[in-house]
Every structure is written in C-alpha cells, then in structure tokens.
C-alpha cells in the first residue's frame, strides 16, 4: 500500500487533499453537465418528493398520480433545466402556493415549534424519568396491600367442602 514510506502522515494528508479536490471537481462537472442537459425523471422526482400534493392528502408530488402533480413535475423539470437549485425550486413553489406545499414546514416563525416541542418534550421526559426513579426509590412502601381483596384459598376450600357436605 504505502509507497510513500518516508513521510506517511504527509502522504496521507496529500492524498486526502487531492482526493477531496477530485471529488469537488467531479461534482462541479456533474452539476454543470446536469445543468446543460435535460433533467432526468430521477432529478425531477428528487425535488418532487419534498413537495406535497396540493389537492390530495398524505402524498408527495413524485408519487402522486393526479394531473396537477404531473403539471408540477413538468414545472420542476423546466426550472431544473433553467439551472435552478433544488432549494430555489422549493422556495418557488412555497412562495407561489404557500408553505403547506412543503413536506416539512420551513424553520421560521411559528413553524419552529414543530421541532421545538419534541426537543422540549424530550428534556421534560428525561427529567420526569430521573425524578420518578428517585422518588420511587425513596418512598416508604405500604407494608401490605390492604385494598387487595381477601383471597384465602384455604377458607374457600373449607366453604366449598362444607357446601358439598350439606347437600
């Protein structure tokens, strides 16, 4: 493996850098190629998946069979061909039709609470667990359960036998 035995650390670093550079270059090339070409159906679906069907419930634009969604996919294709980024396209639809066409609400204004509440809930939950665990380990238990129904198998057997004897 290591042909650069003398200074391995530097070699690794160098290779990592050049690798990173190559990857970046490759990405740039793909992006520019993609921009100059007609976008593929997979590119359109990638964006369409992040939008909700405006006329039906619980389905994204990529999977939706309605006419409206087909038009939206065509529009996404046009915008991609114009060289718009995914985010720009999402913003375009959100600005035109409202935030509720996005699969996840944007993180601004009131919509922040959609993420905030679970986080607060998690903190409250962990606190509750620790609190309950502490409290329950200190509490003095009842010596016996005095609300428990009286279950005396011996007594019942006696009763039963008595009944049988009486008959």
């Amino acid at each position: 493996m290591g042909h650069n035995n003398r200074r391995p650390a530097q070699g690794v670093l160098l290779r990592a850098c050049s690798g990173l550079l190559l990857v970046t270059l490759a990405m740039l090339v793909t992006v520019s190629l993609a921009r100059s070409q007609e976008p593929s159906a997979d590119d359109v679906n990638r964006v369409a998946k992040q939008l909700s069907c405006p006329t039906c419930t619980g389905i994204n634009v990529a999977d939706c069979p309605t006419e409206t969604c087909a038009q939206w996919r065509a529009k996404i294709g046009e915008l991609l061909a114009e060289g718009k980024t995914d985010q720009e396209i999402l913003d375009y639809f959100a600005a035109r039709y409202g935030d509720h066409v996005l699969q996840v609400p944007p993180t601004r204004g009131f919509f922040v609470t959609v993420w905030l509440v679970p986080i607060v809930g998690l903190i409250v939950g962990i606190t509750a667990f620790l609190y309950l665990a502490r409290r329950w380990s200190r509490r003095v238990p009842l010596p016996s359960a005095d609300n428990e129904p009286i279950v005396d198998e011996y007594l019942q057997r006696v009763e039963k036998d008595l009944g049988a004897w009486k008959q």
Binding site: H100, Q103, N147
Partner: protein, 707 residues
C-alpha cells in the same frame, strides 16, 4: 326491510341507554335485580345490532339503491363479495359495524365474567353501554332532531351541522330509487383492504374491556392487580388485532398504492399507531404491577389514554379533521366525537385522582439496574414516540388555529424524530429480559450480556472492516450512513442473541431435568411458559420487522425512465447488483366489466441472463373515473424488485416506468408473522387448573338473582 333495520337500531339505542342507567343505579343501590336487568338489556343490544347488520348486508346484496348508503358504496357491477364488505366501505356503515363489534364484546365480557368477577360487572356494563349508545346515536339520526331547536335559538351553523347527520343513518331512504349506485372506491377492492378495517376495528373495540375493568376497579376501589389479571388476555387479543390491522394496512399500501412504500405517516395511519404505542406501553407496565405492585397510577393513566386514543382514532379515520380544519365542521360528527372523547377522558382522570390514595405503590424501586427501571424507561420511550406522532399529526391543525398558517408535516419529520426513539426501544428490548427484578448484581449482568455483546460487536466490526461485506451496509456515495447502520445491525444481532440465549438456557435446563430431546424440550418450554416465551417470540418478530424497516429506509433505490419498445433501463441493487428491465410489449388485459386494464411486459435480466418476465398494469375504473396502478413485484428474501407503469404514449409505443429495489422488505412481513404467532402463544388460554389463581373477591353485589 330498511325500516325494520332502522327500528332495530333505534331500539338498540334505547336499550343501551337503559342498560347503562340500570347498571349504574343497581351498583349504587346494591340492587341485584337491576344489574341483572341491565345485563339482559346489554345482551339484547348485541342481538338487535346483529339484526341491524344482517339487514344492512341484505340491502347491500339485493342492491336496494333507495337506501342512501347502498347507493353510495355499491353498484350493480360489483361482485357479491365486495357488496358485503362495502358494509365498512364508508362512514355510516363502518360506524354501525364498529358498534356491532363493541356490542358483541360487551355481551361476551359480561357473560364471561358474570359468575366470577361480578363485583366489576355493573361498571363494565355502564362503560360499554354508554360508549355504544354514543356510537349508535351518531348513525340513528337522533341528533338531526336538534336541528330545529338550534335553528330557533339562532344557532344556524350548528343547526346545519346537526341536520347533515340525518344522512349518516345506514338505513336512510332517498326520495327516489336511483338506477345504479356509485360503487366502492376501487382502492378498497383489495383483500388486504377488505380484512384490514375489521381487524383494526376489533383491535380498537377490544381495548374497551381493559378500560371498562380499570374504571370498574376505580369505582369499586378494588385497585389491586385483579382487574389486570382478569383482562390480560382481552388486552393481548385487542393488541394482537391492532398489530395485525397495522401490518395489513402496511401490506395493502405496499401492494396497492404503487409508490413503493408501506408507511407514509398519514394522519389515518398515525391514528391507528398511537393507541398501539400506548397500549404496548400498558402491556409492559402491567407486568410490573403484577410482580411488584408498583406503577398502579401509571397503568390506570395508560389505559385511559389508550382508550381515549381508540375513540380519537375512530374519529380521525372517519372524519378527515386533520387534513383540514374545515372538513371538521361539515357535519356534526366531528364536534360530537370531540365532546365525547373529552367527557370520557375528563371523567376518567377525575376518578383516577379521587382514588389516588388507594393506588399507592407496594414496593420501592431498589436500583436503576433492575427490570422495573428498564420498564419505566421503556414506557417513557413509547410515550415519547406517541407524543411525537401526536404532535406531528395535530400540528397542521394547531398551526392553522393558532398562527393562521397552513402546514403539512410529512414523513421526514417523523422519521427524524421517531426513528432514534424506536432504535432506543430496540436497545432496551435486548437488555430488559436480562435484567432481574429488584436489583442486578454487576457480575451477573456482565455474565448475561457478554456473549450477545460480543456477537453484536463482531457483526458491526465485520461489516465495517471486511471490504466484501461493505456492500451490505452502504450505498455508493453515501458513506455517512455506514456507521449508524452497521451499529444498528450489531444491535439487532445483540437482541437476537439475548433472545436465542434465553431459549437455549431454558431448553438446556429442561433437558437436564427431564432428559427430553431438544425439540420436545423447546415445545414443552414454550407451552409451559407461554407468556414469557411468546413474549420473546414477539421481540424476535420486532427485530425482523426492524431489519426490513432499516433496509427499506436506508437502502431503497428508485429510478424512473420513459422507454420506447425494446429500450431498457438499469437499476442497481445495493445488495445484489444490477437489474436490466427491457420494455417488450403493451396490451389490454381481461378485467371485470367496468374496468379497463392495460399492462406492459418487461423482461428482467441480470448479468445477461433472463430471470423473469413481469407485467405492471394500470386499471381504470370507468364508473368512478378513477385509476389505479398495479405494481409488478419480484420477491426474494434479499429484496423486492417493484415496478409500476406510470404512464404511456401513442398506445404504448413508449411508456414511463418507475422501478424500485426494496432491500430486506420481506423480512418485515416475515417478522410480522413471527410477531403474530408470538402474541397468539402468549394469549393462548391456560388450562383450567392454572386458571384457579383467578379467585373472585368478596362480593358487594349480594344475593344476586338468577342463581
């Protein structure tokens, strides 16, 4: 005929109201003959609703289109089988069906426990019959009677909403006889969807039993674990049906909806998932009360929440409130449901607070390293998933009401927030069975954990280090997923190993003690400890389900191409390599009268070898003007190849295909089967001698008649 059905419905309503009043009075005055009368009324309600359902089915079969409901959900072209199942095809019918199931449960539980647990029976009658009366009232048209007085009071919107409810009656007669009906939604004409609603409803309705006994325990102050032991099997059966309902729904979505997925975090799906989550927490935490007399308030709270969610779920699935606040106000059903849920919930909570003194714990939590502590954590995690699901489902409503902004909370939110919580639950599932009650000594715990942990670490290590195995963990270009996914596989290995070890230890002990063969020892082990080993099987099923979920969530591949005849597309599976699909031909296929079915044939090739010929198709339902895509699937244990025909041009000269590779998806269904078998074993009735542990408490209802 329809009049007869309607009469049965009205009589059932009157008797349900009577039964609840009589049982409540009988309980308060210790009047045994009133309780007996209430019982008989409850049985009569079940009989009357059975008649109503039978008449409704007769009307559906005979095509009585003058009955509004029949015209809504059937048409002449539909086969008889679908006509019968149209009983739960729309709102009025499914509410009738729900009420009927509930009345059967109510009758069965009252008869079943009349002799033994009579102390609880009056309250159980009150709870079941009030719920039943509410459901029957919704479909009996009685609320429409309020329309006129409300109008007089100037409440015209409310009056309108109530008036709308007149047509919710499954026996409502139109003023004329239409020539034909609209017919059932084509999406529902699939046998997965045919049995999914009844199974789910059985699950929903079944939870009334533990809830009614919990309330009865509070009312009578018999707050020991008796109510839990009495209802254990009822709860398990309800939970089994709810689980099966969820799995069937997923299976249906996967096979019918044609988007290559099985779970969309849709409000209706969430509505069924939420009671399952809290119900699962309940099933676990009642074990602590049985063994250690702890968590009493907690268990009461869980069953109250679960039952509230059951009613809420029925409401959501049948009202569409979450998709828009506006659909809520279209008929009176939404507001009435909300009031009913609120009243039930508030009453239960008030009762619970009133009885807090009798719910004190009998033990302390000895250590954080104990099964009790792990169970507590398990419960909080289940509640956390529930809370997240609840929040995400209701957020659109909250946002619209509070901020006036419409929003949609889609799958990415739920996956990101609930995903890690589910993963944590799987971790606990591996650890909990190893934890002893009260307190674990460190040595014992280490000894138990060491081999499963070695197995888990070994799997993670192998996947990370052996280059040939990398393909099982990561898609090209998505290296970031490598670490969490390999860790998760390691975790699943750990859980399977702990479960396997438990079985192995049990079998070894039995063989030493009795000299049985391995298989005989295994069978005997399971059949003598059904709860325990059934439980382990359920956990094993969950692991397999998790495998399928991880596979499809992280490694799913999809591509879409428009192909001219003779052209091919290639889709690369992360597990098994590339598939080449070649578009061969396009044809019209034989189908029922009102359906136009077109299909495209594709040749599936792999390394130049033809391995299959598949035919995705497209159904057009002419009556409803609705289209349906029928995916073609090629199942293997490693993955499914899933192809849909998305569209075509010029009579099929070219066509658009969407192809998916769904890695490990079949483990989801296999895991589901293991899960169901495990639950069945855990719920299987005990022999009579084992049943003797359920002894009746002292009876407040004395000198009951009829004996």
């Amino acid at each position: 005929m329809a009049d007869l059905g309607y009469a049965a419905l009205l009589l059932a309503l009157v008797l349900a109201v009577y039964a609840s009043v009589a049982a409540a009075t009988g309980e308060r005055r210790r009047a045994a003959e009133l309780v007996l009368s209430a019982r008989n009324a409850a049985l009569a309600v079940a009989a009357l609703l059975t008649i109503a359902v039978a008449i409704e089915i007769y009307l559906l079969l005979s095509g009585d289109f003058r009955t509004f409901y029949v015209a809504q959900v059937t048409n002449r072209a539909m086969p008889d089988f679908f006509k019968v199942t149209a009983l739960w095809g729309s709102q009025a019918g499914s509410l009738l069906f729900w009420a009927w199931l509930m009345s059967l449960f109510g009758a069965a539980v009252v008869l079943g426990h009349w002799g033994r647990m009579r102390v609880f029976v009056p309250t159980v009658i009150v709870v079941t019959q009030i719920t039943l009366a509410f459901f029957v009232s919704l479909i009996s048209g009685v609320w429409a009677l309020l329309a006129y007085p409300l109008q007089l009071l100037g409440q015209s919107t409310a009056a309108q909403m109530m008036a709308e409810m007149e047509t919710l009656n499954p026996f409502y007669q139109l003023g004329f006889t239409p020539n034909d009906g609209t017919g059932l939604n084509p999406l529902l004409r699939h046998w997965g969807m045919i049995i999914h609603p009844p199974v789910l409803y059985l699950g929903f309705v079944g939870f009334v039993v533990p809830f009614a006994f919990a309330i009865a325990a509070l009312v009578t102050r018999q707050t020991g674990d008796l109510w839990i032991r009495v209802t254990r099997r009822w709860t398990l059966v309800a939970w089994l049906f709810l689980s099966m309902g969820l799995l069937l729904g997923m299976w249906w979505a996967y096979g019918v909806l044609g988007w290559g997925g099985y779970w969309a975090w849709d409000p209706v799906e969430n509505a069924a998932l939420m009671p399952w989550l809290t119900g699962t927490a309940f099933l676990h935490s009642v074990m602590i009360q049985e063994k250690r007399g702890m968590f009493k308030v907690w268990n009461m709270a869980l069953i109250i929440i679960t039952y509230g969610l059951v009613i809420f779920g029925t409401f959501i699935t049948r009202s569409g409130v979450v998709s828009s606040v506006h659909s809520f106000a279209q008929s009176g059903v939404g507001p009435l449901f909300l009031i009913f849920v609120a009243v039930t919930f508030i009453y239960s909570v008030v009762l619970l607070f009133d009885r807090l003194d009798s719910l004190r714990s009998e033990s302390v939590l000895d250590s954080m390293f104990s099964r009790e502590a792990i169970f507590l954590l398990n419960n909080l995690l289940f509640l956390a998933v529930f809370f997240v699901t609840f929040w995400g489902t209701l957020f659109p409503v909250v946002s619209e009401l509070l901020a006036g902004q419409k929003a949609i909370v889609g799958p990415p939110f739920f996956n990101q927030v609930a995903g890690p919580l589910f993963a944590a639950l799987v971790v606990l599932m591996g650890i909990a069975p190893l934890m002893p009650w009260r307190r674990a000594s460190r040595e014992r715990l280490l000894r138990m954990v060491v081999w499963p942990a070695v197995g888990g670490i070994a799997v993670t290590g192998l996947l990370l280090l052996v280059p040939g195995l990398r393909q099982f963990t990561v898609l090209p270009g998505t290296q970031l997923r490598l670490v969490p996914v390999t860790l998760f596989y390691g975790l699943l290995t750990f859980v399977v190993a702990t479960i396997g070890l438990e079985f192995w230890r049990g079998v070894r002990t039995r063989r030493r003690a009795t000299g049985e063969g391995s298989l005989a020892a295994l069978v005997a082990l399971i059949s003598h400890n059904r709860r325990r080993y059934g439980g382990y099987l359920i956990h094993l099923g969950v692991v397999l389900i998790a495998l399928g979920v991880v596979g499809t969530s992280f490694f799913k591949v999809e591509t879409q191409r428009n192909l001219a005849r003779g052209e091919s597309l290639t889709i690369v599976s992360p597990l098994t390599g590339a598939y080449t699909l070649t578009y061969l031909s396009f044809s019209t296929l034989p189908a029922p009268d009102d359906v136009r079915r077109t299909g495209a044939s594709l040749m599936v090739q792999r390394d130049g070898q033809t391995i299959d010929l598949i035919q995705p198709s497209h159904d057009f339902y002419m009556t409803q003007g609705q289209a349906m895509t029928i995916p073609a699937m090629r199942h293997t244990l490693a993955e499914d190849l899933y192809v849909i025909l998305a569209g075509w041009e010029d009579g099929g000269a070219s066509a658009t295909f969407k192809a998916f590779v769904e890695p490990l998806v079949n483990w989801l269904w296999i895991g589901g089967l293991v899960f169901i078998v495990g639950t069945g074993i855990a719920a299987w009735p005990r022999r009579a001698d084992e049943r003797a542990s359920l002894v009746e408490p002292a009876m407040p209802v004395r000198a009951a008649a009829g004996q």
